[in-house]
């Protein structure tokens, strides 16, 4: 993997400007997506000041509890948000272009073609009234103007590529005639059909059986290798992150609280939340009587506290945490952490 630093580019003097060794494929600068209620009274800060960077061919894992904003972030990238949501600030640089500035018509050129997404529930994602072939061939026909026959053939090839047996017969069948694992592969086939540079997978294995999960993850790995895809993996499962991802971003209450290379974070987590997440995974040979859970609940995203969002549940919280929300601090080795402890660590020279 190429040597990269993970840092943000902004005018904030507390951050350093990084020197990247290659132009990133995707770069988010302080992106915020808010949901506004109809009367304009309630604002849910689903995604708040998120900055990320991803290079071609890399895999980024985005981890967080439900409601941490990870799915909204994914939808923000592709600008497929519900009516009540707004991107209120920030830039999304994809292959040098700012996606936030694009019109919907321009975004349609991006969606499915240069950036694709796999949704969580494959049964719900596939239209029950249309055949598999129709649905796989569809993006090809729309984006590349291919004729019916040719697109149909491409669909069969794609089904082969995602290792679906006897694709010739499968291609005329309907979604409900497939098993869950097969459906998810089909959704994957749809995702890669137009050879995108980036594929976003939103909890792709959550609805699969454990035995199928491993196969599917391997498939995604192979596809990535064969097609040079960059992958964004959205999940709450740290095990998958450990297996699949090069980089990791941990989200809490709509913000990225820690990011960096996976192995380093797993070895020495910088943020208390990350630490708690890692501790809560039961391990073999662990003699503790009780499972470690994190006390408390995530905050209401429409009424975020003044200080750090995690302060109420944080075992290491001190006064400053409750009054002032920490910014993202850059740490060595291409890591960031949104924690006052990290600032202290920086000062004292520790990693």
């Amino acid at each position: 993997m190429s040597n990269l630093t993970l840092s943000s580019v902004s005018s904030d003097p507390r951050r350093s400007v990084a020197v990247a060794t290659g132009r990133p494929l995707l770069e988010l600068d302080n992106v915020s997506t808010h949901y506004v209620s109809a009367q304009g009274t309630r604002v849910v800060r689903a995604v708040d000041d998120v900055s990320l960077r991803l290079n071609a061919g890399e895999t980024l894992g985005i981890v967080g509890e439900s409601g941490s904003g990870k799915s909204t972030l994914a939808l923000t990238l592709l600008r497929v948000l519900p009516q009540a949501a707004r991107i209120v600030s920030g830039h999304i640089w994809f292959e040098g272009e700012d996606l936030v500035r694009k019109s919907d018509a321009e975004m349609r050129q991006v969606r499915g073609k240069r950036m694709a997404m796999i949704l969580q529930d494959p049964m719900a994602s596939l239209n029950p009234l249309f055949s598999i072939g129709d649905q796989v061939a569809e993006p090809i026909r729309v984006h590349e103007g291919t004729g019916r026959r040719a697109a149909w053939q491409r669909a069969i090839d794609l089904l082969k590529a995602v290792r679906i047996p006897s694709p010739q017969t499968r291609v005329t069948q309907y979604p409900h005639e497939m098993s869950g694992g097969m459906r998810q592969r089909i959704v994957g086939a749809i995702g890669i059909s137009c050879e995108p540079r980036l594929l976003i997978a939103d909890e792709p294995t959550t609805s699969l059986d454990l035995t199928i999960q491993a196969q599917y993850l391997n498939l995604l790995r192979e596809l990535q290798r064969e097609h040079g895809l960059a992958l964004i993996f959205i999940t709450h499962n740290l095990g998958i992150v450990a297996k699949m991802c090069d980089q990791l971003a941990v989200m809490y209450a709509g913000r990225v609280v820690e990011s960096g290379p996976v192995s380093r974070i797993f070895n020495t987590p910088a943020h208390p939340y990350t630490r708690a997440l890692l501790n809560s995974i039961p391990r073999m040979g662990d003699n503790r009587q009780r499972l470690t859970a994190i006390d408390g609940q995530p905050p209401d995203l429409s009424r975020l506290p003044v200080g750090c969002a995690f302060a109420a549940r944080c075992p290491a919280a001190f006064d400053r945490c409750r009054t002032e929300a920490p910014p993202e601090f850059n740490l060595d080795g291409g890591r960031t952490a949104r924690c006052w402890l990290a600032s202290a660590a920086m000062q004292s020279g520790a990693a």
Binding site: L78, V80, Q109, N127, P139, V142, H143, I190
Partner: protein, 306 residues
Amino acid sequence: MRQFIGRRLGYSLLSLLVLSLTIFLFVRVTGDPATLLVEPGASDDDIAAIHQKFGLDQPLWMQYGLFMLHLMRGDFGQSFYYQTPVLELYLDRLPNSLLLAAVAMTFSLVVGIPTGILAAVRVGRFWDSAGKLFALLGLSLPSFFVGLVMILVFSVYLGWLPSSGTGGVLHILMPAFALGWYFAASHMRLTRSSMLEVLGSEYVKLARLKGLPQSMVICKHAFKNALIPVLTLAGINLVLMINVAVVVETVFAWPGVGRLLYEGISFRDFPVVQGVVIMGGTMIVAVNLLVDVVYAVIDPRIRLEK
């Protein structure tokens, strides 16, 4: 699937039984069968003959048996006014009602479905509010009032359209509109809510994520799925239309079964009234059964089950 159809069929037969029992009991028990079933001004002999025919002196359950026997044979009694068997009269008029209902239904779908889709796609904005207003008016205006006002405007003031009877395309326009207006509103409402539900679904989200143009997302993916409940309702409404067209047919003197019912009550021709009611109920039970069965057949999920 066979089991399903069998069960459904049994259910329908039971409903028919209850219906026939209801009609029978209402006449025999709350009404005065002697007056109702006998022609006004009949002689004593005739009255005796009627008593014989319907077994009015017999115990109730025997009367019911006779009643059902007659129904099975298609003997719904004889119209006093027309001196013809009721069933014959009914079947004679039915095509006219069917025609009216068909045109009205077409109108209601042609107007209702696109407005519903438009309202759903532009939810919260102008077209949605306009659509809601249209639906509200449609559901609040009685059909015969619409008909009367139309006659006033188009026949009396403008002289464009004939106000009664059959004869040509012009004759059917106003009654069909008056009849279909309410259903257009009803279909619009259902299309809108069904469409909104579909538009919020995961496969529509994926269709957008694929980068498909908005028109394709709506027309190809959303439309078909949203239409299913609407068409189901339309099928049932078609038969309902035939039955509630009583007033519209009366206003426009349209010779359908609704008008027949009106004549029945005007002329105190009870066998006709009873016959129309029985046929009406039977048709609706039948169409409900048909819709359920068709659903079972065409839904690929049920079809492919062993």
